[in-house]
Subunit: 153 residues, 12 copies
Amino acid sequence: MTAQATRVLVLNGPNLGRLGGRDPDVYGSTTHEELVALCVRGGADLGLDVEVRQSEHEGELISWLHEAADGGIAVVLNAGALTHTSLTVGDACAILGAPLVAVHLSNIFARESFRHRSYVSAHAVGVIVGFGVEGYVLALSWLSAHSGSVDAP
Amino acid sequence: MTAQATRVLVLNGPNLGRLGGRDPDVYGSTTHEELVALCVRGGADLGLDVEVRQSEHEGELISWLHEAADGGIAVVLNAGALTHTSLTVGDACAILGAPLVAVHLSNIFARESFRHRSYVSAHAVGVIVGFGVEGYVLALSWLSAHSGSVDAP
Amino acid sequence: MTAQATRVLVLNGPNLGRLGGRDPDVYGSTTHEELVALCVRGGADLGLDVEVRQSEHEGELISWLHEAADGGIAVVLNAGALTHTSLTVGDACAILGAPLVAVHLSNIFARESFRHRSYVSAHAVGVIVGFGVEGYVLALSWLSAHSGSVDAP
Amino acid sequence: MTAQATRVLVLNGPNLGRLGGRDPDVYGSTTHEELVALCVRGGADLGLDVEVRQSEHEGELISWLHEAADGGIAVVLNAGALTHTSLTVGDACAILGAPLVAVHLSNIFARESFRHRSYVSAHAVGVIVGFGVEGYVLALSWLSAHSGSVDAP
Amino acid sequence: MTAQATRVLVLNGPNLGRLGGRDPDVYGSTTHEELVALCVRGGADLGLDVEVRQSEHEGELISWLHEAADGGIAVVLNAGALTHTSLTVGDACAILGAPLVAVHLSNIFARESFRHRSYVSAHAVGVIVGFGVEGYVLALSWLSAHSGSVDAP
Amino acid sequence: MTAQATRVLVLNGPNLGRLGGRDPDVYGSTTHEELVALCVRGGADLGLDVEVRQSEHEGELISWLHEAADGGIAVVLNAGALTHTSLTVGDACAILGAPLVAVHLSNIFARESFRHRSYVSAHAVGVIVGFGVEGYVLALSWLSAHSGSVDAP
Amino acid sequence: MTAQATRVLVLNGPNLGRLGGRDPDVYGSTTHEELVALCVRGGADLGLDVEVRQSEHEGELISWLHEAADGGIAVVLNAGALTHTSLTVGDACAILGAPLVAVHLSNIFARESFRHRSYVSAHAVGVIVGFGVEGYVLALSWLSAHSGSVDAP
Amino acid sequence: MTAQATRVLVLNGPNLGRLGGRDPDVYGSTTHEELVALCVRGGADLGLDVEVRQSEHEGELISWLHEAADGGIAVVLNAGALTHTSLTVGDACAILGAPLVAVHLSNIFARESFRHRSYVSAHAVGVIVGFGVEGYVLALSWLSAHSGSVDAP
Amino acid sequence: MTAQATRVLVLNGPNLGRLGGRDPDVYGSTTHEELVALCVRGGADLGLDVEVRQSEHEGELISWLHEAADGGIAVVLNAGALTHTSLTVGDACAILGAPLVAVHLSNIFARESFRHRSYVSAHAVGVIVGFGVEGYVLALSWLSAHSGSVDAP
Amino acid sequence: MTAQATRVLVLNGPNLGRLGGRDPDVYGSTTHEELVALCVRGGADLGLDVEVRQSEHEGELISWLHEAADGGIAVVLNAGALTHTSLTVGDACAILGAPLVAVHLSNIFARESFRHRSYVSAHAVGVIVGFGVEGYVLALSWLSAHSGSVDAP
Amino acid sequence: MTAQATRVLVLNGPNLGRLGGRDPDVYGSTTHEELVALCVRGGADLGLDVEVRQSEHEGELISWLHEAADGGIAVVLNAGALTHTSLTVGDACAILGAPLVAVHLSNIFARESFRHRSYVSAHAVGVIVGFGVEGYVLALSWLSAHSGSVDAP
Amino acid sequence: MTAQATRVLVLNGPNLGRLGGRDPDVYGSTTHEELVALCVRGGADLGLDVEVRQSEHEGELISWLHEAADGGIAVVLNAGALTHTSLTVGDACAILGAPLVAVHLSNIFARESFRHRSYVSAHAVGVIVGFGVEGYVLALSWLSAHSGSVDAP
């Protein structure tokens, strides 16, 4: 990975730090630490400089989205349950200049109906749902293929 | 109270630190400090090691719920208005291993309809509504009677 | 128990006579006879004169509520499925002069959405949900602590 | 400005620190720094001691509202997207003793329907919508005219 | 009153036996006994042979409606809260051959929205709402004027 | 009729001038002229000074309601279809000082659901539905019995 | 019919005793007495010991369902309008051990929408709608073919 | 079977050719070929000339319904999931001259709510739900009993 | 005030002529005459040529809005209850060329939900809610500051 | 045009007098005067005696519809926004004896959803939507072809 | 008709081949063959080269719409019940380059509410509803007048 | 590509054959032929034997899904608008034995709300939304990585 590697912020929302321990039938057995390693290493292979952050705080997620907006940095966002309830996170996504890809570990369409609504999706280039931690890699591979040339919607 | 006393976390959400001053017709005149004393002392009488925490931050509540999940600690939760809006707190409740009892000071069923929905209740063993600060004591007395033997739902 | 013991009517609605035999995963294995004994004995220990009645007939429940209204007797009410459909029982609750506590054996919030609506709750001092037959004891212990001094809402 | 100047807290919610850069067609080109100066200077001209704060954190907004409640300080609140989703902020507004004026930069009634609901408005003396940063000045001028004599609703 | 006086059944549903004692602001201070006297005497003045019955039992009301259907007897019905919830009472009204007049003591349109729906009204000639016990007299005066000549709808 | 006769305004809304010709199955065959005569004569018999007016214009109805409010005159109102759609007429009813009785010729509860909503009913003492032109006479007889002694709700 | 004939309870709810006289276009001209004879005789031909009961009382229906549950007796249930409103009857159906078949005389799907909801259907093996009294015979013939071998759902 | 046998078309919609292999817990283990044999043979026993067809194409089902309309042929229809979504199939059913019986293999009332709506039912004589392939036989036995004498609704 | 003063039409809808007398708790004690004087004088101080009109007639309001559209005149509109029901007034607002400011005397967000909908707001530059008659002055001060330079939205 | 020419009233509702000037992208550039000429001349060519009227007043439209009802005159009605909100205009349409054709200039189905509802359409022979002023000519050509022979629905 | 005649495809959806035989009260007595002749002949008179096709298959309709899109051919579409349910047909309409006119034989606004929704209308220049087969001729006459000069919306 | 290459069916629904020509802003400029080539070649690179089919017919899609079910073949499905309306396609997806990945070219979450519902998603392993034709490649790369080891949900 050279210094010119495109930067990508992978932002995970509340409860995602519990991966592996939390309801493995729904979310898989990979821990958040392993997810970080997977994204950083997989990103490096794709020529991306990936940083993964996680927070229980809606406000911290919003500040990180502002940071991405200021730096023109692409974002892979899994806002957890805030996806479905936080208009505030949605408004922060609307400010981004570089592409946003939304990722969900589980197939939210096969779960409760209140998980079908998203304040994030309308501001994303695309959404990847249900592939577990591999969804992050699919998102990164798309960002890698379009680095430097894709405008946010 | 001996060292073997079962631990219980009593977690109070936003605006509950204002008890006593806030709308006494609805919430009673007991202050949060008095509520803390009531729970700790009442818990000790029941053989429980009770710790009471309060936060205006959803994220902090979630971290405390994670702490309870890690430690297998029983929880009495009054999430305040987040009960009705925070799917994120609900998801954190779903991770708990020890019993969760939900408490509401006021009779939410006699208030606005948006206070009838709960993201917490479905993950609780039971819910106690409308008995003011005495609801916490009822919750603790149930936990005391079942300490060591009750699985979370 | 002395003659001065405060009277409490515990009123159980349709299908509750089937306790123990009916869907034990949801309602527990205690029979209605055992529930009666638990309430009477537990009430006596708390200085209460408890009488338990059960009926499949909405009209009979209403008459008993009128009897409680006439006598100024406190009521613990588990109206069963009528809780969710009977405006008539709700109107009878509204007439009560002494405190009413509503009890549900199962956690109705984790069940079908048509069990979330209640015509009873708004007229109760408080509601106790999900603790099985122990919910009756919690209700009685609260009534015992407030006998003589609590007005109905 | 003398020491007797009436204090006013102007509280701005999530994403409002991005003013100027964010979607200028909707929110105008004034930056948050310029908004602060406008309010402080405009307030001083009206005999008000204005302090402007902004936070991405719902919890911090709530603490500031508690501070205003403790000090009996008038509030001009633009809760951003939390206006439409946060019952918790609404409950904190309900505790205020001095007047609350709600302000929205954009005409929310000409935007998405989920921006038409407000948990804040019902607790405000009045609401000013769509006049951009000048809305804050209108709010301050009303507060100035009524300082010392207006009760919160 | 001669033997040829037209018969009218005045049927009152659950909780109406509590008139006078129950919430006098809403229902007035006349007792059910006084209502019976008012209807019987008022009916006699109008040349009607009025019988008033009251029951807490939906099934009993239905049997009385069947009796009216068999005898071709006009009915004044105040089904109480069953008006709003009992499709079964509504179906029994549909069988009547002689005119049905529905009466409500209170102005149900100024009360909770679940009191606006009626399973009875569509089967009635007309509905009289909000005039307290005088509504029964208005209903009887109309029936008197049309005895012998009006078909049910 | 003496000069002391209580004044009553009978106000009929749009399309009611077409009575008799319009859909006689629904509205009866009495013409508006006959309705006027019936009300004036019937009112006189009851000691009332009745004036009947009809307009196709919502604004004119409102002015007449203002006139009644200024004069403390009782009103019998059949606002026609405006009953179901005009919040403006409803607000004018709310200003009245003397009793308001709402009348509908047809049984609106047996018709389209958009005729079940009323902006008028909540401001009326009572509502009389489905008795055709006789409903006006029932309304007048009630007003006659209470002239001088009944406050508006 | 030998003593070993399988027992079946045919339970009919409110208003069904009026068959034949009530709205023959909808429900047919067979009387309830003829329905009883049809079921008993038809059942005997199929080797079933059929008993038919009818009640206007929800509570009585529930008691009969409990009797069937205790005896492991198959049930053919036409709960009349209670099908659509009584969660209580639905809960009683859920307790049954032997098969339940739901029957409706009329094609409820061609009638008002409030007759499309059923609290009974989900607990039945199957539902037979619209074939008039012959629907009972179809139900009995299915029960006969499966007597001794079919579990309730 | 003689030439005079009444003709019946049994029409099965999309996915019903997969019977036996598809989700046997819901639909049973009988294959479509066995269903065809059951209907043809069972029909012959009842004096009916039964032809069974199946198609994945809505258009083909409609053409077959037209064919039945032209020939005055009775129809047993299981339109599969089209029952719940195809207004077009419903309109084709409305044209039929001979009786239509609707059949569902599974108890659709115990499944997802979008399977409760039917565009077919209102045009059928009756509906048979939840008896698996035996439902077809019940339908045929009813048609057999009424061949020659029953008008479509 | 010179001849060059910018013209502003202040248009008040139905029932607003009753100000002062009507429900002073909600609308304040200022009369419409005083409101006129306040607007004309306050406008003159701000260099505006203000004319105030009031009508009970929707059609007249629409004609005045057309007049404003023809003259390019700014409008302050309080359409009263028509705000919430009149799409026709809303369409007339959409034609305006100069700025429109919507004003409500009371805090409509703290009242019935049918007062939350507005057909006017989306066509306004901004909306001022809840400040009583002072809301008009706030509206005029904004128009004054922007006279000559602001386009309608 | 001879004296025997069939009379047609073309009635235009609120805001339609602004045609040409108002939002030409939606409504076209033809003025109302040109529309009048087009209808009168086009009608004459078709042997119709066409009169065009326009009003901002719902009440005036209703009076004109009454006039048409009295004269048995065919009507082409474009009620503007009243189409979607005025049950009163709809009721006036229901009284018409000669055919009514409803016309909309713009394609209301491609606009806001509150423009999809119509109180007029159900009373019309047919509806013509989206063809601008030519829609009136299409309506007149249909009326011309059916003058003398078509009953209103 | 010369070779230069503008081509128009008239496309009829499911069940429309049954015209004349199907429910003549709703759809008229003209057969589809007569409709074809009417359109072809009427089109020729207007200088149009009209081809009429009908299919029960949604897929075939879509292919024909693609053919029209490829050829830039104007379309008159009566998609039958697919109008109300087929988003797929709606998407195919959106691709058309030449004008689309939607036609309905019956007045769908006077029928069931599920016939009020249309996936086609928003993509059409205009919609003609309720004039029976003459609606096609009105559509063709409009297309004739605009052939060569009108863009699709 | 060897004979052992895992087979994958890529199935495209109605209107997808128009790719490139249809609304390029939404769906991109790649034609369906290019999409076929992209999938076949990209699949071969990933060791997959990919076959791409497209149909306007729901019935044909269903047959292809049955073929995949019989062969245990993985499917990438873009059902076009049928995704949102066809319960029948959804039921066919439920029968599949090998993994199903759902793909949408455009970001359906940023489009009309009726495109947010999916009958397909709940039966898929995952869903990929908004990445245009590259979404197919992402789907194939996931299938390649899991060929031989992943069970359908």
